[in-house]
């Protein structure tokens, strides 16, 4: 085995410009979808209307126990075939799929955060005669979000790490680009190793930092 350094230098440019840009896009927009839609799901789950909370719970369960990859196929290949025949680009379908998948994880994170707010807080808000919406926006959610922070960080890292699954529906992220580069020469060692290290180098320190944060928030 010998490592082709010249080629490595050459393709690294492409890997870390176009590929990296796509991976960053997926991570950022995927996380935005996951955080916002997840909050919506968490609130729907707490709805007093039975069918709403039941539907939310089943949706979360279903999405969490089926593979992201199949969900991506569904969004990318199925949506165009059924009315109203929405044709999404691979990147959009991927971001949406990744975001919705992890929204079902964030929903649980928020739920744990909300459950962690002491009941006295609700009672105090009622005693102060705060309207329901105000109670949630200025008393409950800020506390719940603070508690949820480390777990949300974990979800963000998970979205980043799982973003390569989009390469299977033809998105050219870091891994997709590496695959393509490899197939050009029928030699995958260099591009896949560099791409793999890229994920390790970012994800491992991020996880360690989140664990620190977790420990700090415990006290």
């Amino acid at each position: 085995m010998n490592w082709d350094w010249e080629w490595t230098r050459e393709f690294s440019v492409e890997l870390f410009t176009t590929g990296l840009k796509v991976t960053a896009q997926i991570t950022v927009f995927g996380a935005i979808v996951a955080f916002i839609f997840g909050l919506l799901l968490a609130l729907l789950r707490r709805s007093k209307i039975l069918w709403v909370s039941t539907a939310a719970r089943w949706f979360i369960q279903f999405v969490r126990s089926t593979p992201l990859l199949v969900q991506l196929f569904f969004l990318f290949y199925v949506l165009p075939t059924i009315p109203p025949n929405i044709k999404l680009s691979a990147l959009t379908a991927g971001i949406l799929g990744l975001g919705v998948h992890y929204a079902c994880y964030t929903a649980e994170v928020y739920r744990a955060g909300i459950d962690g707010v002491p009941p006295g807080q609700f009672e105090a808000a009622t005693a102060l005669n705060l309207p329901q919406v105000r109670t949630w926006t200025s008393v409950i959610l800020p506390q719940a979000l603070r508690r949820s922070l480390p777990a949300l960080g974990n979800v963000l890292v998970a979205i980043f790490k799982e973003s390569p699954q989009l390469s299977i529906i033809t998105v050219l992220d870091v891994i997709g680009t590496a695959q393509e580069l490899g197939s050009e020469r029928f030699r995958y060692l260099e591009p896949l190793t560099v791409a793999g290290l890229f994920f390790l180098v970012l994800a491992i320190p991020a996880s360690i930092m989140i664990r620190r944060l977790e420990r700090r928030l415990e006290y």
Partner: protein
């Protein structure tokens, strides 16, 4: 009334065309899940125990394994092992072996965190009582700590097994003929994307339910062993939707 074989090619329409293939794929998915789970459990036990060792070198090796395999997703590791590693080792692994190996290594790393956390959650006085009764270090672990820690491993372990099941779909990317692969093949020949991907998702969902149910029995058994009563009936939600205090059980694989 005749029983209907859900895998029969005589079923009407798309079902008849697709189900025989999907069923073949489901068997492969189950096999890869079981193989990956077996390897993951062994690795989790070994690395989890090693990470509580007094010898720093043993601990460090376990730590490196855990961080390394949790640092990237199954797909990246799978691609590397299947496409890149042959350039180093000189031969290519069979796709199914590469799949089981990667899933085992990856989920085993998450699992060892569960094992470690559960061992550390056993109250210190239990260890001290073991010392006072003159058990050896090995006997303390085997007879006192592990049986108690096991109970705490089950709920986060269940979540990980479901993550493992889901991750098996990725082996389709290296052309293992699992359920996801078969779905793609069938779709490309007969179309009907909605029905076929829909059926496949439902089967994955049902498989996850089977895992949850089996693990709930394991959990109940384990809880009775340490004299804890578990509620016979839980609120109608899955065990893994209540994140365990360990981070491994919380926000999924992260």
């Amino acid at each position: 009334m005749a029983t209907i074989n859900p895998c029969s090619g005589d079923l009407p329409g798309t079902f008849g065309d697709a189900m025989p293939f999907i069923c073949d794929g489901a068997v492969v998915t189950a096999q890869v899940t079981l193989g990956g789970a077996a390897l993951a459990i062994v690795l989790a036990a070994v690395a989890g125990l090693a990470s509580t060792s007094h010898a720093w070198l043993v601990r460090a090796v376990a730590r490196v394994y855990m961080e390394f395999f949790r640092g990237a997703s199954v797909l990246v590791q799978l691609f590397w092992i299947f496409y890149a590693m042959p350039a180093i080792t000189g031969y290519r692994l069979s796709p199914i072996f590469a799949g089981v190996l990667t899933l085992g290594l990856n989920l085993g790393a998450y699992g060892s965190e569960v094992v470690r956390g559960a061992i550390q959650a056993v109250p210190v006085p239990q260890r001290e009582a073991g010392i006072a009764l003159n058990f050896s270090t090995y006997q303390r672990m085997r007879r006192i700590i592990l049986p108690q820690a096991f109970v705490a491993m089950v709920p986060p372990g269940t979540s990980l097994l479901i993550e493992l099941l889901k991750a098996t779909s990725l082996v389709s990317a290296i052309s293992v003929a699992d359920m996801t692969y078969q779905a793609n093949v069938t779709v490309s020949s007969i179309g009907n994307q909605f029905t076929i991907f829909g059926i496949v998702m439902v089967i994955y969902f049902l498989m996850a339910q089977v895992i949850t149910m089996v693990m709930r029995v394991v959990e109940r058994r384990a809880a009775t062993m340490v004299g804890r009563e578990t509620p016979k009936r839980r609120p109608p939600q899955m065990a893994w939707t209540d994140p365990a205090p360990t981070s491994a059980g919380g926000g999924g694989k992260s």
